[in-house]
Amino acid sequence: MKKQQQLYKGSLNTIIMKLLEQNGKMYGYEITQKVKEITQGEMNITEGALYPALHKMEAEGFLDVEMDKVDGRIRKYYKLTESGVKETVSRMEELENFIRNMQNIVTGPDLKTI
């Protein structure tokens, strides 16, 4: 794993939820590819991290599953539940705060806050 991957690790669940909010329903492999595509290969969600995260959120009731038959095999799609939608909003707020604070630290204090 690249060093920078550590920085993304804590936001994995939020990233997955945000993707599901935007795309409706997605399956595991699709999520890994979408993240790679959006970040132009900078972020790589490993299989060993993705499925535990999905299963945890499913057990917590944030995600629901749906099955479909594609190319002769069963595909398991994940989608946000009602509580998952609410959780996404609050997690996104948290993440945005985090980004703003990090930005302030990295680039010096924001003039508006002084």
Partner: protein
């Protein structure tokens, strides 16, 4: 685009089974993931062999392969049902249910205090009998699951969690309940005042657990297992 044949998909199921994934719902997800990854690799290089690509994709799951994944999913679900159980029990100690719990506590205490040795005998008998009934119901439930698995030729991860929900309290508290049997053979059965408080608290907690387990946990597990079966059957 080169696609996997049905035979290769079947091989992927065998592969997951060989790597200790016994639950069909988990196998399905992993098979689809591996199949997608193999087909994507073929898109870049169609000359890659099936086995070679499969091994390369499997490596991405880390040194524990699929085993860590199965265990983690079981733990998450187990945690979920445990949380559900304890949250419901805890609600009996908050307003408005606490009034009912307190009344129950004082009623049991009053009866035990008034009836002395006879009361304790009945209390212990009620505890042991209900524990044995819980244990046998657990065996029956697990047996039913095993029979269903044999019939369907498939097992679901949730079924293993349901089995744990029965077996963990049975094994964990079995010693406590069976040691109570010894009390029947003691000459002086009447308990002290502190003993009555303890026995009352134990009785209330015991029956609260049983009540919540049969009213919430077991029906919820049965419903979720049925939903899982249905979800895969309708495909």
């Amino acid at each position: 685009m080169k696609k996997l044949t049905q035979e290769q998909i079947d091989q992927l199921f065998v592969f997951t089974k060989k790597h200790y994934v016994e639950f069909y719902d988990v196998q399905v997800e992993l098979v689809d993931h591996l199949a997608n990854a193999i087909e994507a690799a073929w898109e870049v290089n169609p000359n890659l062999s099936f086995d070679e690509t499969l091994q390369a994709e499997f490596k991405k799951f880390g040194i524990f392969g699929f085993t860590g994944l199965v265990e983690q999913k079981q733990n998450e679900l187990h945690k979920h049902y445990n949380k559900m159980l304890w949250n419901e029990i805890k609600s009996f100690f908050t307003i408005p249910k606490i009034v009912l719990t307190a009344l129950l506590f004082f009623l049991v205490y009053y009866i035990l205090e008034k009836t002395g040795a006879i009361g304790e005998t009945f209390a212990l008998a009620a505890l042991i009998i209900s524990f044995i009934v819980f244990m046998f119901d657990g065996f029956r439930f697990i047996f039913k699951i095993k029979k269903e698995q044999k019939k369907q030729g498939k097992s679901w991860l949730l079924q293993s969690v349901a089995q744990q929900m029965f077996s963990i309290p049975t094994i964990g508290f079995g010693g406590v309940y069976f040691s109570m049997i010894g009390r029947f053979f003691e000459e002086n059965l009447a308990v002290s005042n502190a003993g009555i408080y303890f026995l009352t608290a134990f009785l209330v907690m015991h029956f609260l657990f049983i009540f919540v387990f049969y009213n919430l946990i077991k029906p919820s597990l049965v419903k979720s297992i049925k939903e899982t079966e249905k979800r895969y059957q309708t495909i």
